[in-house]
């Protein structure tokens, strides 16, 4: 992993992205000019204290929220310029989601849950479920494909969620605290899986996390504070400060 970055390496590019909620006395500045890049083939971590704007940032990147100002390019597309329907289509084709609370549909089996993005893309149900079973098998859940989420452990549920995020082969995967609800072993297993199965030369993976135990899997770590990226580091060396704080990677992860 070199630091030199060409334009075609960049999957997500944020320049001075701002986002506020409300107006007047209730106005909240969630993003105060974020500069952030995520590269293809990498796990890009977004870290920082609660309320610093991590979730808002990935929501903007994933096309779930509109930015207030700044430039944003996702997979070479100005997501903000897309119409509502185009944005839905963009997400359906290009973005995979892993949520902190898994958000699996409780009435569907593991395989059916995984098949949802394919069903949304109008892939016939038998084919969608068949592909889902195959992916779940590759992720080590071949014996639990017909299990309901309530009968799966937290680690297994997150693996199902990961499979759901990958089944339609998106070019961007957004993970929100994927290990927060898991114990250390399960969290590590999920991250191993994420690193081994999600990372792909034509895919960028952005992980929002508080979990310092999984930082070892990151190719790059961007620290956020008060709506800004204050530091970007690459665990194999190099720290660049983009905000006012000047801290080392050791301090960031402490």
């Amino acid at each position: 992993m070199g630091d030199a970055m060409s334009a075609h390496d960049v999957a997500v590019s944020c320049r001075q992205v701002r986002k506020h909620f409300g107006e007047g006395d209730t106005r909240i500045e969630a993003l105060r000019g974020v500069d952030f890049d995520a590269r293809f083939g990498e796990l890009s971590f977004l870290v920082g204290p609660s309320g610093c704007g991590k979730t808002t940032l990935i929501s903007v990147i994933a096309g779930l929220l509109d930015r207030t100002a700044g430039d944003l390019s996702v997979l070479g597309t100005a997501v903000d310029a897309l119409s509502s329907n185009e944005r839905v289509l963009f997400r359906r084709r290009n973005v995979g989601f892993v949520f902190q609370q898994y958000n699996l549909l409780p009435a569907l089996t593991a395989a059916e849950n995984v098949a949802v993005p394919l069903l949304a893309a109008r892939v016939p149900r038998p084919e969608a479920v068949s592909r889902s079973r195959a992916l779940l098998s590759r992720l080590g859940l071949s014996k639990r494909t017909e299990a309901l989420p309530s009968t799966l452990s937290g680690g297994q549920q997150q693996r199902v969620a990961l499979a759901r995020a990958l089944i339609h082969e998106p070019r961007l995967v957004v993970c929100d605290e994927p290990t927060a609800a898991l114990d250390h072993a399960s969290g590590a297993a999920v991250m191993e899986l994420l690193a081994s199965s999600a990372v792909h030369p034509d895919r960028a993976v952005i992980v929002v996390t508080h979990d310092t135990r999984v930082f070892q899997y990151a190719h790059s770590i961007a620290r956020m504070d008060d709506g800004r990226i204050v530091e970007v580091s690459r665990p194999n060396g190099g720290v660049s400060t983009t905000g006012g704080a000047h801290s080392t990677s050791k301090e960031v992860f402490a």
Binding site: T55, T56, I58, S59, A62, L64, L65, N85, V88, L89, F90, R91, R92, R93, V95, F97, F99, Q100, Q101, N103, L105, P106, A107, L108, E112, V116, P117, L119, A120, A121, R125, R164, D176, E177
Partner: protein, 379 residues
């Protein structure tokens, strides 16, 4: 995504069955109460509807419904017969004499006097005996319910004696006349005898029943009779509705049933609508996840409509089944004869249920449409 919608719906069995049965009971209550209400009102015109051979009724201009009669003059019959387009017109007497059995049991009755020559105006269905035997002196035909009332626990048989206004009359037939509103025995006799069974008055001609000539409609004939004789002439259907309207206007029946029906609609709407709405609200996170994953609003709306219509269809079917079973089991008795589940009530209930489901769906859809998919990231 349809199967996802249906699995979401049926995934939580308790909520699903709660929804289905809320709609089923609402359906049952509505169909039950509206049918009983409609059938009871229809009973106010039972004796009119039983007369199948005449299509036009002629009465005093002040007569508003079946039970309120002011006798016509005998010459009125001749005047009506003289109206162009009348194929035939005959007398019909209606009175309420007391009939008493030899054992002393008695009841106020509906006595209908039929034209002596033609017996026009008799109900068609006879359970025992024949209408022709009314030609025998001092004979009556009584309906089955009236017979059972006057001769409880005794088999149906002809030849039994009743005393009416000092006349000993013989039962020569048992008919299947429709139940009257007041549940009195319905008796038929020849006109000339019926007036004696009640007690002679100066005039006795309650109604004239008539049939239009071929090519003349009943409505046309009523207009002609009204214009030419200044009597009130109504078609059978018009006269039936006159009776229904009279009872609606002058009795507490519509208020009582109306309250029950209104309660059924309100409770049904609130319970079924709110349950479905809450079901959607509780699933907002799932809908949010689907939205985030790229399921378009239109498809989410389709999913909600599919869920709502599935629940409504199943609940309506179960409720209608329950209502049909109720009518079959509990209202298959003499006292409640003729009270059936009316298709009009089923259709009306269907419209009400559809309304409930549409309201609940719209509220649910609104919640899903305004849902920010980014909400899904909030634990």
């Amino acid at each position: 995504m349809n199967f996802v919608a249906l699995r979401m719906l049926t995934g939580d069995r308790a909520k699903y069955f709660g929804l289905v049965f809320a709609i089923a009971f609402c359906t049952f209550l509505l169909e039950n109460q509206t049918s009983i209400f409609a059938n009871i009102l229809k009973r106010t015109a039972s004796q009119i509807l039983d007369v199948t051979d005449a299509e036009v009724w002629v009465m005093d201009p002040q007569t508003e419904y079946w039970e309120q009669t002011k006798p016509l003059k005998d010459t009125d019959l001749t005047r009506v017969r003289g109206v162009p387009g009348v194929a035939w017109a005959v007398r019909l007497f209606k009175g309420n004499p007391v009939a008493k059995t030899l054992k002393g049991k008695f009841a106020v009755t509906f006595l209908v006097g039929l034209d002596d020559a033609t017996l026009a105006g008799a109900p068609r269905k006879m359970l025992l005996g024949s209408w022709q035997r009314l030609s025998e002196p001092d004979s009556v035909v009584i309906d089955q319910a009236g017979y059972v009332l006057l001769f409880p626990d005794e088999p149906l048989e002809l030849g039994r004696i009743l005393e009416m206004n000092d006349h000993r009359v013989t039962i020569v037939g048992i008919s299947d006349a429709s139940a009257p509103f007041a549940s009195l025995p319905v008796m038929h006799a020849r006109y000339s005898e019926a007036v004696n069974f009640l007690g002679r008055q100066r005039t006795e001609l309650s109604f004239i029943i008539a049939r239009p000539s071929p090519g003349v409609s009943p409505a046309e004939l009523t207009a002609r009779i009204g214009a030419q004789t200044a009597l009130r002439a109504r078609t059978t259907e018009e006269f039936m509705w006159d009776c229904v309207r009279y009872y609606l206007k002058h009795t507490g029946i519509p208020v009582n049933f109306g309250i029950t029906i209104a309660v059924a609609i309100v409770v049904g709407t609130v319970v079924a609508g709110q349950t479905f709405y809450l079901f959607t609200v509780e699933n907002l996170k799932q809908f949010g996840a689907l939205k985030a994953m790229g399921v378009a609003n239109l498809r989410l709306v389709g999913m909600i409509l599919l869920q709502a219509s599935s629940v409504a269809a199943l609940g309506f079917a179960i409720g209608t089944g329950m209502a049909a079973t109720f009518f079959e089991i509990f209202l298959h008795k003499l006292a409640t004869r003729g009270i059936v589940l009316m298709w009009q009530c089923v259709a009306l209930t269907g419209v009400c249920i559809l309304f409930v489901v549409i309201v609940a769906s719209l509220l649910s859809i609104r919640r899903v449409l305004v849902l920010e998919p980014a909400e899904v990231f909030r634990g």
